[in-house]
């Protein structure tokens, strides 16, 4: 009886360890978000992760699926981020210049107070759509690590070009990378 009890306890312990290992492997295999920056660095064109998030610029939600057939510039930002304020005019200018060609600039605000975000949008004169990633799920899916970060999605829903991350060191370089990304996304 005691031997059977001991054997049962050992089997349970081994089973628990195997289950935890399986969970770890599953998490590593399914952790696709972090794969996107490295895929872009290799010149690949991974499928842009889908999302539906609440809008900040107006009521309702916005999905990536709603923008099917359009080129999309996804810019992660927060109101407390100084470089975000520096690059906001470039994003706004791109939206105004290319929107008739089918380009959408989409701001994704996260780790931010709603009131601060709305004040920031007014201050920089942001007129493009903005969504709020409350739980940071989209940030994780895209493998973004900090703000600001910018990704380019082409009309087929694939990420293209460079991922532009961090503060602007050279405005000329930033504008060149940014324009290259837009042209790739537009498919021209």
């Amino acid at each position: 009886m005691a031997a059977r009890l001991k054997l049962g306890a050992q089997a349970l312990a081994v089973g628990l360890v195997v289950a935890l290992l399986a969970l770890l492997v599953w998490k590593l295999v399914n952790d696709e978000g972090s794969a996107i920056p490295s895929a872009l660095a290799r010149g690949e064109r991974p499928v842009a992760p889908a999302f539906t998030l609440p809008r900040l610029d107006e009521e309702g939600t916005l999905s990536l699926a709603d923008l099917r057939g359009k080129a999309v510039v996804i810019n992660f930002w927060a109101s407390w981020c100084v470089p975000c304020k520096e690059e906001a005019p470039v994003l706004e200018a791109a939206w105004r210049e290319h929107r008739d060609e089918g380009l959408v600039v989409l701001g994704v605000d996260f780790n931010d107070l709603r009131s601060d975000a709305l004040a920031f949008m007014r201050e920089v004169g942001m007129t493009y759509p903005v969504v709020y990633d409350r739980d940071g799920a989209l940030v994780a899916d895209y493998g973004a690590t900090a703000v600001p970060e910018t990704f380019f999605v082409n009309r087929e829903g694939r990420l293209v070009g460079k991922r532009i991350a961090g503060a602007i060191n050279s405005r000329e370089q930033f504008e060149r990378d940014f324009e290259d990304g837009i042209q790739l996304a537009l498919g021209s």
Binding site: W80, D112, L113, R114, D116, R134, G136
Partner: protein, 138 residues
């Protein structure tokens, strides 16, 4: 005495919260430490937000609920005691109870294990033992 105690309790319950009441229960979302340990820009903004809400008369629970609405449950330093997060409270308690039970059962079994006279040896073993002892004596 009872009236005095009730008065003190009533005052404690109705007293407005302070920033320090809340900032060690809320996490800075960019640095993953509590607000009282963070100088990150968002932590500064969250402290300002909490001060504004306190000045507006909100309770501690109302302020934390609003922060959860804006940042999600990850903003709380300790999980909520409801829904799935309740597991974070129950599992350690359950584990401790199970471990205490296991130690108790083992201790009980050890304390009742037979001791003293192990009973007569099997004849074959007794014969071999006698032979070994005789060899030493010889």
């Amino acid at each position: 005495m009872t009236v005095l105690l009730s008065l003190v309790l009533a005052l404690a319950v109705s007293a407005p919260p302070t920033l320090s009441d809340i900032e060690d229960e809320v996490v800075c979302p960019t640095c993953q430490v509590t607000l009282d340990q963070s100088n990150a820009p968002i932590a500064e903004r969250m402290r300002a937000f909490i001060r504004d809400r306190i000045a507006a008369g909100d309770s501690k629970e109302e302020i934390k609920a609003e922060l959860v609405r804006q940042f999600g449950p990850r903003v709380l330093a300790v999980p909520e005691r409801r829904g799935f997060d309740l597991l974070a409270w129950l599992l350690p308690i359950g584990g401790a109870v199970l471990a205490a039970g296991a130690v108790g059962v083992l201790a009980w079994r050890w304390s009742r294990a037979p001791r003293g006279d192990p009973g007569p040896l099997a004849p074959e073993l007794e014969r071999r033992l006698d032979e070994e002892l005789a060899r030493f004596d010889g």
